[in-house]
Structures are given as structure tokens and as C-alpha cells.
């Protein structure tokens, strides 16, 4: 009898302890938002809606193709070539600009006053672009493009003459912008960054001896005398080859640079 009581007592204790674990307070009492066995959305409704909107946009693309056809039907000479190349060009009309940039009017803000129209991108973070780059603005006078600008890493590059629209013109503009940036960096004491801009500018404008003078000056300031000396000598050497004509402001700047370069060569050679 005692044995049975012991077994019964132990079983009771085990049961109670088990239940105490099971009845421990539940910490989270939120209702589930999806139950076992339910079905979840596979996104097909969103895809169908997006497909409808994509078809709407394709109609916009069809408008753009109409614009291209009209642009080609009304163009002549260089403008025609530029439309085919997808490049904005001086003398284009509004339709041809849209064709060259692959856009419709939805991409532009058009400001019209008198005979002039200025087209600027409607969304500054998503500029329309032609084969050359992102187009920041187009100005039309009497219905023909008189000026346009590209958003480039050095700022906006304006094109207002046929020379500036050529590859050489573009390189000269970019070199000019890089030199400006290099000068600002040199003035701020960021000599390595200034050298980088001058080096890049010298690739675009290899015939400009003043870039060599700038490089030499920065190397001189950066306490790199050997390299500075070579650059000063290179600057003077290239001037000799070019036979400077001492005329105008540019030559005056060169004369000053020549004198300074010669002085620095003497100093640097003495310290060598």
C-alpha cells in the first residue's frame, strides 16, 4: 500500500511540475496576421497593373517615334546628320531637339518669351541626354537652337558656336573647365588634386604651354624640386619651339611666366 502511495505521489508531482511549465505565462499575446494553410499573394495583380501602365508609356514611345520621323522630314544638312547621330545641334527646331534627345515635351519645362524659348529638364535628377551627354538647357531664338549646354563633371558646358560643337571644341572647353578647377584647388592648398586636374587638362589641350607652367608651379609648391625643374624646362623648351609672338594679353602672361620659370630654374638648380 505504501509503495503504491509513493508511486502515486511521485506521478502527481511530475504531473504538477509539467503543468507548471506548460502554464508558464505567455509573453506575447498578439493575434497572427496569416494563419497556417492560408494563401499568400504572389504579386501577379501588381504585375498586371504595371503592364497596363507600361502599355500607356509605350504609347508615349510611339509619340516619340512620330517626333523622330517629323524631325527627319523637316531637316537639312548638318542638322539632319545631327538628328541621325542623336546629337543636339545649332539651328535645330524644337521637334528636332526632342528627336535628338529621344524625348517628348513631358521631359522639358518650356519658357517662351517673345521669339525666344528656353528648354530646361523638368526633372533635374533625370536630365534628357543626347549622344554627347546630359543636356542641361537648350535656347532657341526665332525657332532655331542658338545655344545649348551639357551638364558635365566640371559644370555646365555651353555650346553657342559651331566650333564649340566639334570634338576639338568640346576638348578645349573641358580643358578650360579643368584648369579653372585646378586653379581653385591650388589656391585652396590641395596641390595633389590640382595636379590631377592640370594633368587631365594637358591631355585635352596638349598645345597649351601654360598648363606646363601651372604643373611646374604646383610641383614647386609641393616641394618636389626635381619634377618642378623638369616641368619649368619643358615649359621654356616648348615656348622656344613655338616662337612666341609678343602681342596682346596672352603674350604678356607668358612673358611673366617665362621670367618666373627662369628664376625658379636658377634657384632649384642651385639647391640641387
Amino acid at each position: 500500500m505504501d509503495e503504491r502511495m509513493k508511486i502515486f505521489g511521485a506521478a502527481l508531482l511530475v504531473g504538477a511540475l509539467t503543468l507548471s511549465g506548460g502554464c508558464a505565462k505567455k509573453h506575447v499575446n498578439e493575434q497572427p496576421i496569416i494563419e497556417q494553410g492560408e494563401r499568400v499573394d504572389d504579386g501577379s495583380y501588381a504585375v498586371a497593373e504595371a503592364r497596363d501602365r507600361a502599355e500607356e508609356r509605350q504609347r508615349q514611345a510611339a509619340d516619340q517615334r512620330d517626333i523622330e520621323a517629323e524631325a527627319l522630314a523637316t531637316c537639312e544638312g548638318d542638322v539632319c546628320d545631327a538628328v541621325v547621330r542623336d546629337e543636339v545641334w545649332l539651328g535645330m527646331n524644337e521637334t528636332q531637339v526632342l528627336a535628338a534627345t529621344g524625348t517628348t515635351e513631358a521631359a522639358w519645362n518650356m519658357r517662351r518669351s517673345g521669339g525666344s524659348t528656353v528648354m530646361t529638364p523638368r526633372d533635374a535628377s533625370m536630365m534628357p541626354s543626347d549622344a554627347v551627354g546630359a543636356v542641361a538647357m537648350v535656347q532657341l531664338a526665332a525657332g532655331a537652337v542658338s545655344r545649348y549646354g551639357y551638364q558635365e563633371s566640371q559644370g555646365v558646358r555651353l555650346v553657342s558656336s559651331p566650333d564649340q560643337a566639334t570634338t576639338e571644341g568640346r576638348a578645349a572647353e573641358m580643358a578650360e573647365a579643368l584648369l579653372r578647377e585646378g586653379d581653385e584647388l591650388a589656391a585652396a592648398g590641395r596641390l595633389e588634386a590640382a595636379l590631377d586636374r592640370y594633368d587631365r587638362a594637358s591631355i585635352l589641350a596638349p598645345d597649351d604651354p601654360l598648363i606646363d607652367y601651372r604643373v611646374a608651379s604646383v610641383l614647386d609648391k609641393a616641394l618636389r624640386p626635381l619634377e618642378a625643374l623638369i616641368q619649368y624646362e619643358l615649359f621654356l623648351h616648348r615656348l622656344d619651339l613655338e616662337r612666341i609672338e609678343a602681342r596682346g594679353e596672352a603674350s604678356a602672361r607668358l612673358a611673366e611666366a617665362i621670367a618666373l620659370a627662369q628664376q625658379r630654374i636658377v634657384v632649384l638648380e642651385r639647391n640641387r
Partner: protein, 212 residues
Amino acid sequence: MKFNKAWSVWLAVPLIAMSAAACSKTNVSRIDPGSVTDLSGRWNDTDSRLVAAQLIDQSLNGAWLDRYADANGGAAPPVIVGEFRNRSSEHIPVRTFVGDLENAFVNSGAVTLVAGGDERDEVRDEREDQQYNARAGTRAGLGQELGARYMLQGELQSIEDEETSRGVVGSRKEKIVFYQVDARMVDLESNVVVWAGQHKIKKYIERPPLGL
């Protein structure tokens, strides 16, 4: 009588064993891939589908598509899929929901999907091979790839919290797992994030003692 008892025992034992074996037979059934089936509480197909559905809805309804179309004569934006990082403590195959997202992009026509990664390398190898081995008129041209304007990137993170309430024999385990999936569409030229999507899943996993 004794003989009969012994025989009944000898017969009963194999019968019970056979019944037990019959119960443990492997059962396989094809079930709806869209059904919610949670077994362990870890990341599973349901979570993947939930994430995919949300990201599909958010990305295809985002304003970035209209903005791109307006600036580009109605064209669909060319997108390349970059890396989706799994920063959770679980092994999670992220390609399942990324694949769903890619399918939605292509099937909706709202996005032009450009192949990237290993897929692109394989295609380039084949194109390179064609330059030597394919008939002139059937060769895929070189340098004609479409440059993507946007890259889709993302990551998955998880936070876990658990507690065990102990009894002597049994203990109740409670666990909260929180998953957060973030996706971003980044402009390859300007680094501007033109769209960001997110989905969060919070799971409560309870294990009562002795199956109570």
C-alpha cells in the same frame, strides 16, 4: 491453453511492428506553392513569397518609372540586378525572391532587365565563341550591350529574441524573429537612390512543454 497464449504473443508482436512501420511510411503530396506552411519557424518559402510580393508591388508602383519614362520618351528603364546581401544569422537563399522580382520586371514590361553577374559572363563567352565559329550573318555583334541606368541592390537582416520558462520536467520556449528586407534602385551615373522598398516580417514561435 498455454500453447495458445504463447502463439498469440508471438503473433501480436510482429503485427504491432508492422502497424508501426505502416504508420512511418513516407507520404508525399503536391500542395499549392502559395499555401502558408510553417514547420520549424525558420525562414521559408512563405517568407520569400511575402517579400517578393511586397517588393514587386512597391517597385512597380513607384514614381521612378514614370519619371524615367517622362525624361526618356516613354522608354522603360534598363535595370541590372546587383547584390542582395544576407546579413541575417540564418542561411537564406535570397535568389528566390530576387528571381520573383526579376520575373515581375520582365513580364510587366515596365522595366528592361539587363543580365548581370555570372549570367552575363556566360552570354559574353558564347558571343565571343560565335565570332570564331558562327556563320557571318548569324553572329551576335560585339559592343551592342545595353548599358543599365539603374542597379537594384538590397540586404536582408534579422533580429532574434527568445526566452525559456522552465518547469522541472517541461519548459516553454518563446522566440521572436524579425526579418527586414531592404531594396534600393540606384542611379548608376549619379548614385541617387530613385526607389527604396522594404518589407518586414515578425514571427512568434512558441514551443510548449511536452507538446502541451
